[in-house]
Symmetry: C2
Subunit: 651 residues, 2 copies
């Protein structure tokens, strides 16, 4: 019934997409009229709505569905917190300076850009897949020039291997690569210096005296961990449970150049799921067992390959590829969420971090990476932070961040316990008393038993700092005692899914964008209704007063049905207004003209096909409500309403 639409008639053109996003104010460089600041963006009305809808869906999919405890914690953080968490010492990237101009470059990005350019030049000479450079790409100053120079075969292989494990190099190794392969600043052709660490946190100070250094948080996670005791109490002392937070974080990136994919300020959603380290099963894992993911584990990468394995998450956990059910549950749920909001599942993979690549706090990490025109980009990280954070904060502050569980069966243990006769001990051994006690207390069970045996013979000898000291039963007795433990105390492990909403939003826009077959100038964003900024566009023939009551009626009915609509009564043709709203991703439109007023009917237009249907106003509203809520698809809608041929009788 509905028209076939070819969304691939024109190859994807990033320049066109960016022009559209700029023209329709999805987002724009912040402080643009001041010349802008790299890595900072403002979201306009459609971008704000799209982001708000993605976040609302996230809240429903994760927080509500799994009864997570939501938090809203502070961005400005005293330095001591990030000293403890390790961020002051280790949350850094490696940068190199141009030896002549002093320009600063991120070391790994430099290596990547230069080697990729050389490989592209090589392919060009070999006559392989050398895409012609586009006009507007040539214009970009910062683009690394492809020199059409053929490389030795083993060189090509070496470069490929370096690129496949690029994230695994340390700073000194990156410096070594620059020297070995003659990597220079492509903008100036100058040599670069040794890589140096640059901390990515923005620094400030709190209070009027300037004595309290602070940082803007680079993640929301610490705000969860510091409140762990309160959260546990709120959850009646039970684990597992998760806390969740949506909020702004800041990273002072060295030289952000990739639009929304690498920014200095961003909205993230973070979940901290607290689990018993001895039991990382998940009670809802059976619900997601069957879900098939594209996996790229660390063993494959370390061999210089990026080949994906398609596998159910159930199988991946059973095989030990994914460490446990809880981690597996979240990978599957992340996959569901991303596909649900419109990410192309064929361009979504889960990549495991290599050992050197992991953040300092993580013991394992899988990234959900989404393919886009600049490659595969991490959009969600899913890290096993183990007990790292809770342990270090607890040790630093002396505040226990632990779970105490009553044991069903108390654990009865027996062990040898040394007991000193302190009075006599001091008199007899003098300054050695302390040393002797320390040595005995550090003995294990076997050593204590042996020592007990010797004491039973009358005396036992100890070697302390090279001297030999003799102990007698008068000084020390060792006895077997029974202990009953009825409480188990432990530091939970933390599994952390962490979402960058800006990256998800941008890749979603890329996946949604296409141009109409008959006219490449007519761009469309095929955003699913669940995230589209506006669900229904109301298009009166004109802004004239006679349409006002009908516009009011329709928009009120839609609002009551919970559907967000917008009226476009601007002074252009209906066709132009629809074209504008195709660019805004509005999935449905209803047109109000004189025939509607007379017949109480309304036409309904679908964005992708541009099909139009017609029916009584209330029928159209109930159909569009079902379409937006996802309980009906367009083919079904075509069964419910008549096709509109563009002509309506008006007396």
């Amino acid at each position: 019934m509905s028209k076939e639409v070819n969304k691939f008639a024109h190859p994807f053109d990033k320049t066109r997409l960016e022009a559209l996003l700029n023209r329709r104010f999805f987002y724009a460089p912040a402080f643009e009229i001041y010349g802008g600041v790299a890595g900072l963006y403002d979201y306009g009305p459609p971008g704000s709505s799209l982001q708000a809808n993605i976040i609302a869906e996230w809240r429903k999919h994760f927080i509500i569905e799994d009864h997570m405890l939501e938090l809203d914690t502070t961005i400005m953080t005293p330095a001591s917190v990030f000293e403890t968490s390790g961020h002051v010492a280790r949350f850094a990237d490696w940068m190199v300076k141009d030896t002549k101009t002093g320009d600063v470059l991120r070391a790994d990005h430099l290596v990547k850009n230069v080697l990729e350019a050389r490989l592209a030049g090589d392919r060009e000479v070999r006559g392989l897949a050398a895409q012609p450079q586009k006009e507007d790409e040539k214009k970009k100053k910062k683009k690394v020039k492809n020199l059409a120079v053929q490389l030795a075969d083993e060189k090509v292989k070496e470069y490929d291997t370096i690129l496949a494990q690029l994230d695994n190099y340390s700073g000194p190794e990156l410096g070594e690569l620059c020297r070995k392969h003659g990597i220079r600043n492509p903008d100036t052709d100058n040599e670069v210096g040794e890589p140096q660490q640059f901390n990515l946190m923005f620094a400030s100070s709190i209070g009027p005296t300037g004595q309290h250094p602070g940082y803007l948080r680079p993640e929301t996670a610490q705000g969860h961990f510091l409140n762990f005791s309160r959260l546990l109490e709120f959850n009646n002392g039970r684990i597992p449970f998760a806390s969740a937070q949506i909020g702004r974080s800041f990273r002072n990136e060295i030289s952000p150049r990739a639009g929304l994919l690498r920014v200095r300020e961003f909205t993230m959603g973070e979940i901290e799921h607290y689990v018993d380290p001895a039991d990382k099963r998940h009670e809802r894992f059976h619900e997601v067992r069957h879900i098939v993911l594209s996996l790229l584990d660390r063993h494959v990468q370390i061999q210089g390959s990026t080949e994906l394995t398609r596998m159910t998450i159930g199988e991946a956990v059973d095989k030990g590829l994914v460490a446990n059910e809880t981690l597996g549950y979240f990978l599957a749920r992340i996959n569901l969420f991303l596909v649900n909001i419109g990410i192309n599942p064929k361009r979504l993979r889960f990549r495991q971090h290599m050992a050197n690549e992991m953040a300092h706090y993580a013991t394992d990490c899988w990234d959900a990476e989404i393919e886009n025109v600049s490659g595969w980009t991490e959009c969600v990280g899913c890290a096993d932070r183990a007990a790292y954070d809770l342990s270090v904060h607890s040790a630093r502050t002396g505040h226990p961040l632990v779970v105490r569980q009553a044991l069903k069966e108390p654990i009865i243990t027996e062990k040898e316990v040394p007991e000193f006769n302190k009075k006599v001990l001091g008199k007899t051994l003098g300054r050695d008393a302390g040393l002797v006690q320390k040595i005995v207390w550090e003995m294990d069970e076997a050593q204590l038993l042996e020592f007990k045996g010797e004491l039973a013979q009358g005396s036992a000898k100890l070697s302390a700092e090279g001297r030999e000291i003799t102990l007698t039963p008068e000084l020390l007795s060792i006895e077997r005692k029974t202990f009953k433990q009825s409480i188990r105390e432990f530091t939970p492990n933390v599994i952390e899914p962490s979402f960058g909403f800006g990256r998800i939003l941008y890749t979603l826009l890329e996946h949604s964008f296409w141009c109409r077959e008959q006219d490449v100038e007519r761009g469309v964003l095929s955003l699913p209704p669940v995230v589209a900024p506006t669900k229904v566009l109301i298009v009166p023939l004109s802004a004239k007063e006679e349409f006002e009551p009908l516009v009011q009626e329709v928009s009120t009915k839609l609002r009551k049905a919970g559907i967000f609509s917008r009226v476009d009564d601007s002074n252009t043709s209906i066709g132009k207004r629809y074209a504008r709203n195709d660019e805004l991703g509005t999935p449905f439109g209803v047109t109000l003209d004189f025939a509607c007023i007379q017949n109480q009917t309304m036409t309904l237009r679908e964005r992708d096909t541009t099909d139009q249907l017609i029916g009584p106003i209330d029928d159209v509203i109930s159909v569009v409500t079902a379409l937006v809520q996802g309980s009906m698809n367009w083919a079904e809608a075509c069964q419910r309403l008549a096709v509109y041929d563009g002509v309506q009788a008006v007396d």
Copy 2:
């Protein structure tokens, strides 16, 4: 039918409220286990929900209702923006230092605290309203001690006058007050130094070189203004319209000590309504005309009085008390919003700023102030920023931030225009040519006409830098020309309602809190359903498996009805669970026991009265849905369902 409840049986006790909020983790000092940082708070699960619900209601009430354009802009801002906006020079408070310890105090707060303490001491001696200090208040170190010393009558009057216009004093005046009235640091009894300005913005720097100074925004407003051209274009070039933004802002307060009422990091909602300076009418003003507000204008305050005037906003605008309809529209809408979410209308007033009190950018300002235990607190500001911001940014960047309107009727004007014969002019006058042109161009219409007359006589004389220069018609002609203006270009004025959600949230908690008459230990938060963190509590008799299907059924049905519920199956009595949820402000509860399973009935409990009703499960769900949505009140619910006497037949 429903019980009478006395919410005022016990006087309001802030200590009890704070203990409740802390115990239930509405919010807590941020970084508490590190000793905390003044002015920074984390919101726990109920606080986050309450805030999210207030914000959702705000979005509906303002953004959706008036079709505002939502934005999400950047917090980290380059210094140049705040240099232009005036914040670098003028966004400051006056602080004084303790001359011995170096402790920093905010000057106006110091004066206020010391004078209020003296007045309280005076009242104590006179035997007036001297409340006995509570144990726990005595414990607070920072509390200014009331010295029971009687003051001269004129002194009392003088202090009252100072306090009524405290916000109107400049820094030097505050210094003068300290000297004149012997105001010292109450913590140490040391003298304080001269007031100095302290800028309230947090400073940082952007990028790896440290060369780009930045500030954290102290308001979201600049992010709106810098995007004005894009917003106007998005709105098809039409005004009036409004942009709106919800986001975090930062102010490095000097010594925050007032809980959520004065914090260093906060979530705000700001609306910038752009309006034609020549026409500040509002097309929906008639909808709010009748709304009665409590007003405190600047004339009343300057006389040392704080007496309120009750008046409809229509009358206030007609009388010129409130400057225009747009400002009036927002004051009324703010009033509606606050009352709707549960603020006590008797404790809400609108106070106009005095001249010296206004922010540097404002030409008029009314604050919505909410009364709480520490006095009247500004929770919403509604400022007329006129064309200030758009003009200064436009001047600094050269980017026009203006509206261009096609005039229906072109404006035809005639005026005298001087025209120089430049070739001859230079030859004849040499270096004076420029000077002469400047003088002539600066002439007004009358001067030009007179000069034209003289030229017609053959020559005209000019006085330039003390010399006399003669001009002839050969050098200069002055002619009457006709101008046709078909576009009107102007900088719009901005009316800005600006909401501090933390302050609204805290005052709402105070207004909602009371203790049950029969037991002061049983606190209740009577939050309206629209903002309550949880709408319905589901209380199964126990966590046993047999209740699981019914719990699932009820919570699924509620979720489908759009009602957020929570299950409390913790291991305590039903009474204790209800008491806990009274503290969390949960308005309704349903109990599931063995009788429910057998009879398919359910009881419904109302939080404030503790009344219980009973009926078939689906009836109870439809009643509670109507109650939560506000389409039914409790008295009506009592008509729909039977009273539950606490006994149900079980076979």
